[in-house]
């Protein structure tokens, strides 16, 4: 009874908090997420009408989404933090049970529940008993999804309290995500037989097994849910304890200039902040694993790109640079004569460039080329990243939680995880764009590309840095206010977008929403595949063209993508009133 009451109270508390949170931009983000999720769920249900193998594979993807999603999207849903209840003297189990029930309140569980209706569909197609089993199977399956997510976040959170833990979890997460990105490699390895049987035996497949008449699977799901609940309760009670204070000796700061001081401060933050340790090793692991995974097929053509991929991923990880430091921005505002952006750029470069250069040179030496293209991409991307990181974080600032106010979950640097994710993707796309000129010239003219890469890299570093500096100078107090209040001010939130007509809004949505498809995969990536001779590749149209048309088709897609973005900007752009 008491447990039921606690859980009910917590669930109502969460509903109330969500009602307050889902206003303004966050409501839009949540709405967009819900629509995308509903589409995915509909797709999953459709699979239930076709092939059970595919449905099992679909649920495996949902499972991975639940486990990995929160790790990359700012620590998952923490509307109700365990810390809120630490003074109430609830037993860990009761706390976990209450938090579990409230964890079912939200957009993501609702969307997943919709996707799990596929179990019911599969059951109905088999018979009455199967359909009846589908009901508890759906509930248990959803519980297992949610619990696995909570447990994995809690484990990573604990790991992030020590440096080895942060590094190991960064390496593992990077490897897993890279493997998912390169899943085709493993499909090819397993002989292109379609769906590997293992998807049936992952916990995500047990619900479906139960529906298909393997009754033990239902018991296994229930047992797993109980075990996970116990594990989560145990982890929750460990989370409340503070991290051990550091007592190591510190190397003295040798900087003698303002710029040097900023570099020294940033580099110390890079090495001491375990979340940044995690991000750095994650990007490194992702780059290496992504580029190296085709080796299992005996193809080393992607290996030289480990360094460039590392740079792009590292830039995306740091896309909210200013937001992560929170209100410490006030010190920058109080010392207007020093240049914060330049110092941060140098620090970013000295933390990432050595790794990127060593990776790139070593791996390209292994494969023996293509030197011109790789050496063109390297400076272009490094310069692009150091220019874009301060610029994007100053313009797209997602208000973070001040480091000293963060709760027990170190991954949670902001309450607006949708905003963080969006910013990271934006950064991925923009950094890639900065290397396009150098890459194209290198593909067409060889070594000339390297010169182009150096020039665009230096230009991006200098020019975009200058823009970021200007933004900080002119809008610094506003940015500080955003971080202090945790809210974007009304004026920028409204933008001009609200004033547009419905048609214009739709056009702008379509352009910004889908412009990336022709630009990046069908344009740039297809061109890279064509260059590497990877023809007839999945859905990359240019790779199916006769030889003379391949580059023109990819180029046309790039042009289309750019035109879509251009149209979008043109539609949204402020105009003089008459």
């Amino acid at each position: 009874m008491a447990v039921a009451l606690t859980t009910l109270t917590m669930a109502r508390m969460k509903v109330a908090m969500l009602r307050h949170a889902f206003r303004g931009t966050r409501a839009q983000t949540a709405g967009t997420g819900a629509v995308l999720g509903a589409l995915l769920a509909a797709g999953t249900i459709y699979l239930a009408f076709t092939d059970p193998d595919l449905l099992a594979a679909g649920y495996a993807v949902w499972l991975l989404g639940w486990i990995l999603g929160p790790i990359f999207m700012g620590g998952g849903d923490e509307t109700l933090r365990p810390e809120y209840f630490s003074l109430l003297g609830l037993s860990p189990r009761r706390l976990a049970a209450g938090l579990l029930v409230s964890a079912f309140v939200g957009v993501a569980p609702l969307v997943s529940l919709t996707a799990l209706l596929g179990l019911l569909v599969a059951g109905v197609r088999l018979g009455v008993a199967n359909a009846l089993v589908a009901v508890p199977a759906t509930a248990l399956q959803l519980a297992v999804f949610v619990l696995l997510s909570k447990v994995s976040v809690a484990v990573v959170g604990l790991a992030l309290r020590t440096r080895p833990g942060a590094i190991v979890s960064g390496l593992l997460n990077g490897a897993i995500l890279a493997a998912l990105g390169q899943i085709w490699v493993f499909f090819m390895l397993f002989g292109q037989t379609g769906v590997p049987a293992v998807v049936w035996y992952l916990p995500s497949g047990w619900g479906l097994l139960a529906v298909q008449g393997e009754w033990w699977a239902l018991g296994a799901l229930a047992l797993l849910a109980l075990l996970l609940l116990g594990a989560w309760a145990a982890l929750l009670s460990r989370r409340a304890g503070a991290a051990r204070p550091s007592t190591r000796g510190r190397r003295p700061m040798r900087a003698a200039t303002a710029n040097g001081a900023i570099v020294a401060k940033e580099l110390r933050t890079w090495s001491r902040d375990l979340v940044r340790n995690h991000q750095l090793t994650f990007a490194l692991s992702y780059g290496v694993c992504f580029a190296a995974s085709p080796l299992v097929l005996g193809w080393d053509g992607m290996l030289p790109y480990a360094g460039p991929i590392f740079i792009v991923m590292a830039a995306a990880m740091t896309s909210n640079l200013y937001g992560t430091d929170g209100t410490a921005l006030w010190l920058t505002l109080m010392t207007p004569s020093a240049s914060d952006v330049r110092g941060r750029q140098l620090a970013w470069l000295s933390a990432h460039a050595p790794v990127a250069i060593v990776l790139t040179v070593a791996f390209t030496a292994v494969t023996g080329g293509p030197w011109p293209l790789i050496l063109a991409l390297l400076p272009a991307l490094l310069g692009g990243a150091t220019g874009l990181v301060p610029l994007v974080s100053a313009y797209g600032l997602v208000p973070g939680t001040d480091p000293h106010r963060r709760a027990g979950n170190p991954l949670r640097t902001s309450e607006d995880d949708g905003g963080l994710t969006g910013l990271a993707y934006l950064m991925l796309a923009l950094v890639l764009l900065t290397a396009v000129p150098a890459g194209l010239v290198a593909i067409w003219y060889g070594w000339a590309g390297v010169a182009v890469g150096v020039v665009t890299g230096v230009l991006c570093h200098w020019g975009l840095g200058l823009l970021a500096e200007r933004r900080l100078r002119s809008q610094g107090p506003e940015l500080l206010d955003v971080m202090r209040s945790g809210r974007k001010p009304q004026a920028t939130m409204k933008f001009r977008f609200e004033e547009l007509s419905k048609t214009h809004k739709t056009i702008a949505w379509l352009c910004f929403g889908f412009g990336a498809i022709p630009l990046v995969p069908q344009g740039i990536i297809a061109a890279v595949f064509v260059t590497n001779g990877m023809l007839r590749h999945t859905w990359f149209l240019a790779t199916y063209m006769p030889s003379g048309l391949r580059y023109p088709v990819a180029a046309a897609f790039v042009a289309l993508g750019l035109a879509m973005y251009g149209t979008g900007v043109w539609v949204v752009k402020p105009r003089s009133s008459r």
Binding site: S246, T269, D273, L331, P336, A338, R484
Partner: protein
């Protein structure tokens, strides 16, 4: 004489709420100026606008005659600020924070090292030389914040709640430092809702209530014959008359 801090017509609106409504204040050089008011009266907002951390909707702020918004470099070089509850470079030790900030302020490396050592010793933070700021207690955070405000030997100090969460021993140290600063010709503006403290330290007071100045002048002008606390409650407190008690608390 040019006022150390001159605020004229500062106004700030957050959404529908008028947080600060055309406040005028003048802090003469060499004065110890106390800003008192209830929680949410607009003290922090006013001080943030006065030092250039929050852009006002209207009005201006000058530090020794230099406009904070049109001549920020000169104005900000003359002021040391202790904001309430803002972050620091959290992954640095106290010594590193001071070194970093001193260099940002354009001080010479040796000067920074000497002053940082002095400040940490006086504020009793030198024992925590291996501790990162993020691991500091609330009181230690206040003290390192005060050290950063003093580091470049400014002529004006603007301190938002400098004594909150500070233990009595440290508070006594801080009071001595602040009195010495004023005796040496410096000017201080501090905000607080502890009346006794303001009475003890300040020679001038302004009472802020709901975004406006309810009273301002020398301490004796404002408090008259009664204590500052009584005057304050009279000015801003208890609009519905009568403090309610919690009857269910007594057995």
């Amino acid at each position: 004489m040019t006022p150390a801090l001159e605020i004229s017509g500062l106004t700030k609106r957050f959404g529908d709420k008028l947080a600060v409504d055309t406040i005028d204040l003048s802090v003469p050089p060499g004065s110890f100026f106390g800003l008192v008011g209830q929680n949410g009266a607009g003290k922090t907002t006013t001080l943030s606008m006065a030092v250039g951390l929050l852009r006002p909707d209207g009005g201006s702020a000058r530090i020794f005659g230099e406009d904070v918004w049109s001549a920020p470099e000169r104005a900000k070089a003359m002021v040391g600020v202790l904001p309430d509850g803002l972050a620091m470079p959290e992954r640095l030790t106290g010594l590193e924070v001071l070194t970093y900030l001193g260099l940002l302020r354009g001080l010479d490396k040796e000067v920074v090292a000497r002053r940082a050592e002095d400040l940490l010793a006086v504020l009793e933070l030198d024992g925590a030389e291996k501790t990162l700021v993020i691991e500091y207690s609330t009181g230690m955070r206040k003290k390192i914040g005060l050290a950063t405000a003093l580091l470049h030997a400014p002529r004006l100090l603007v301190l938002d709640e400098p004594f909150e969460a500070v233990d009595p021993v440290s508070a006594a140290t801080i009071k001595t430092i602040l009195r010495g600063f004023v005796a040496g010709g410096g000017s201080i503006v501090l905000s607080s809702h502890v009346m006794a403290l303001v009475e003890q330290l300040c020679d001038r007071v302004a009472v802020i209530d709901r975004g406006t100045v309810a009273a301002a002048g020398t301490l004796d002008e404002v408090r008259g014959a009664s204590s500052l606390e009584e005057t304050f409650v009279e000015l801003v407190g208890e609009r519905d008359n009568g403090i309610k008690e919690l009857s269910w608390l007594s057995r």
